[in-house]
């Protein structure tokens, strides 16, 4: 019997369905808790600079004068420190990852004032 | 939480003897750590015996820092001592396995000594 301890696994693999997914055709949905990317909702932001201060990788730069909020997605490690620190609840961690980047650039969000 | 930790200052020259005594008492060398404190280096020797932890601390000036090696009692100390030699520039006398400064390949010599300039 001892010599055949692998046979159970082999039999299951032979008759069972594959453990892998046929990726691009079937994709796994991200979990509710998955950290995909940081989303910025600009309408409530007061540019207090708190998120930039707590960011461990200095991925966020806030310019109060120009009302500009910038993030470098290459630096962001999705730790969630900024979303926790935000007093105005305008930063969120979304489940889906950010789209692939084609150039090394900062994502700038500027609020137009009339 | 965990048990209280004692740190006992020791004379650097008495280290090999102290290490031999610890070894005879059944302590295991847990780690050796070097810290730059002002003009001095503090070398912390931690010994563990089951759940107990005992620390010995040798303080020596940074200029021309030299210490006797404890590899005579604890052979496994050679890695820690070579690491401290490479990162801080502390010389060890009587190292059982001496890498001569080639254990870690660093761009700057002794990068952890406070006067090192980062690359």
């Amino acid at each position: 019997m001892a010599n055949w301890s692998i046979s159970k696994l082999v039999a299951r693999s032979a008759v069972g369905t594959p453990a892998t997914r046929r990726y691009p055709f079937t994709r796994r949905e991200p979990f509710a808790a998955t950290r995909g990317h940081v989303r910025f909702a600009e309408d409530t932001c007061v540019f207090c600079n708190l998120c930039a201060k707590v960011c461990p990788t200095d991925a966020i730069v806030v310019n109060r004068k120009e009302k500009r909020w910038m993030i470098d997605r290459r630096k962001c490690i999705l730790c969630g420190a900024c979303t926790e620190s935000c007093r105005k609840a305008c930063l969120f961690l979304e489940n889906a990852p950010a789209p692939p980047m084609t150039a090394a650039e900062w994502e700038r969000i500027r609020i137009e004032t009339e | 939480m965990t048990a209280a930790q004692s740190i006992e200052p020791v004379d650097p020259s008495s280290l090999p003897n102290r290490a031999a005594a610890m070894r005879a008492d059944g302590w295991r060398l847990m780690q050796i750590c070097c810290t730059t404190v002002g003009p001095n280096f503090e070398i912390l020797y931690s010994f563990a015996n089951q759940l107990a932890l005992k620390n010995l601390r040798a303080t020596l000036p940074r200029e021309g820092a030299r210490l006797p090696s404890i590899t005579g009692s604890y052979l496994c100390a050679f890695l820690y001592e070579n690491e401290i030699h490479d990162l801080f520039g502390v010389a060890f006398d009587g190292l059982a396995i001496d890498f001569g400064g080639s254990l870690l390949k660093t761009r700057v010599k002794n990068p952890f000594a406070a006067n090192a300039t980062p690359a």
Binding site: T34, P56 | T2, A48, L53, N55, L75, C76, L79, L104
Partner: protein
């Protein structure tokens, strides 16, 4: 025959840092007599990153993220060990729920790390389908990790004073039910390691390390416990471990098979601890506010999948720490590894190197 050994020609074979069976950048100069290894000289330092020095640049809250990136496998426990050291220095009382969730994640990462290792060792002795089966089960553990913490590799959930995010009780209860089928699946894989004649032939009697040598060379974790040292740093009573029931897993043979079965039994033990942690999970807050800066020093010890790890922090009342030092288990196990290699066959070197579960990136912070 008492011919002096010097008469035999000696060959030095460089092994690593890049080698098909060795995923880690360690270099060994193997001194061979015919096919027998008589000595091994280790060289590390190919990937030294100097993370410890970063504590002078970042404030102590941000160092949590750096500590977590010391290793990609036991990332959570690195963050946890660092937080624990700072919390002790600052006298922070962490809420019970945070401690239990930390324990929960720590045990999950132990299961996934040991399953990863079982796969690697199967691959090292040429049992590739077993490698895939181990990693298939590991994937389910990774899914639980991602579902609860939000990350597969870097959990990012530990912070000074508690944890970043809570896990809902209904999710925990569902995970508790899911653990049983995963453990059943794992039992099938474990029986192959325990019983299969090919696995036994490659592991039994190989790389023997006596209890005395393991102690003298400062071995830790499964390497030491495989040689009969009943030391498990979880018994120190950090996090929620004082409230959970377990006994250190000890094997006495001291060979590769013993280290392998220590890890297999530890996976079962971790499943048990996971169930206990979920059952006893208290309600309440998950973090406390942290004020001030650390002033003092502390050496925090905890048990990682690879063994005991030590975090030394020294703060002097400033935002930046004076010194942050990690003594990783692999670093402590290298002298024991060198001892095991002496006298083995050349072809067995990869298997023996893998049985200490080397994580060289850990060893070179």
């Amino acid at each position: 025959m008492s011919a002096p050994t010097q008469t035999k020609p000696r060959t030095i074979v460089p092994f690593g840092p890049q080698h098909p069976v060795l995923p880690e950048p360690i270099h060994l100069d193997l001194v061979l007599e015919d096919e027998k290894v008589v000595d091994a000289i280790p060289t590390i330092g190919f990937v030294h990153r100097g993370l410890e020095k970063l504590c002078e640049k970042h404030d102590f809250h941000k160092m949590t993220q750096v500590a977590e990136r010391v290793c990609g496998i036991c990332s959570f426990m690195h963050g946890m060990g660092y937080c624990q050291a700072i919390e002790t220095v600052m006298g922070i009382e962490v809420p019970a729920r945070a401690l239990f969730l930390r324990t929960f994640w720590a045990e999950l990462s132990r299961v996934h790390s040991h399953l990863l290792w079982l796969g690697l060792i199967a691959d090292a002795f040429g049992f590739e389908s077993l490698f895939m089966h181990s990693w298939r089960v590991r994937e389910k553990i990774l899914d639980i990790i991602e579902e609860t913490s939000g990350g597969r590799v870097i959990f990012g959930s530990c912070k000074i004073g508690g944890i970043r995010r809570d896990v809902a009780d209904d999710i925990l209860r569902r995970i508790r039910r899911e653990l049983d089928p995963i453990e059943t699946e794992f039992r099938d894989i474990a029986s192959v390691f325990d019983q299969d004649p090919t696995a036994k032939r490659r592991l039994r009697g190989l790389g023997a390390l006596s209890r005395e040598d393991a102690h003298a060379l400062g071995a830790v974790g499964p390497t030491a416990r495989g040689s009969g040292i009943d030391f498990d740093a979880r018994k120190l009573g950090y996090a929620a471990y004082p409230q959970l029931e377990f006994e250190p897993v000890v094997e006495t043979a001291g060979d590769c098979q013993a280290r392998c079965s220590v890890r297999i039994r530890e996976i079962h033990q971790s499943f048990d601890l996971l169930r206990q942690a979920i059952d006893k999970m208290p309600a309440g807050a998950i973090e406390v506010p942290v004020k001030g800066n650390p002033n003092g020093e502390y050496m925090s010890r905890l048990e990682q999948p690879r063994g005991e790890v030590g975090y030394y922090v020294k703060g002097d009342g400033k935002k930046n720490l004076g010194r942050f030092r990690v003594r990783t288990p692999t670093f402590a196990n290298i002298p024991a590894l060198i001892h095991m290699l002496k006298g083995c066959e050349f072809a067995d070197v990869p298997v023996i190197v893998l049985t200490i579960d080397p994580c060289i990136s850990c060893a070179e912070r």
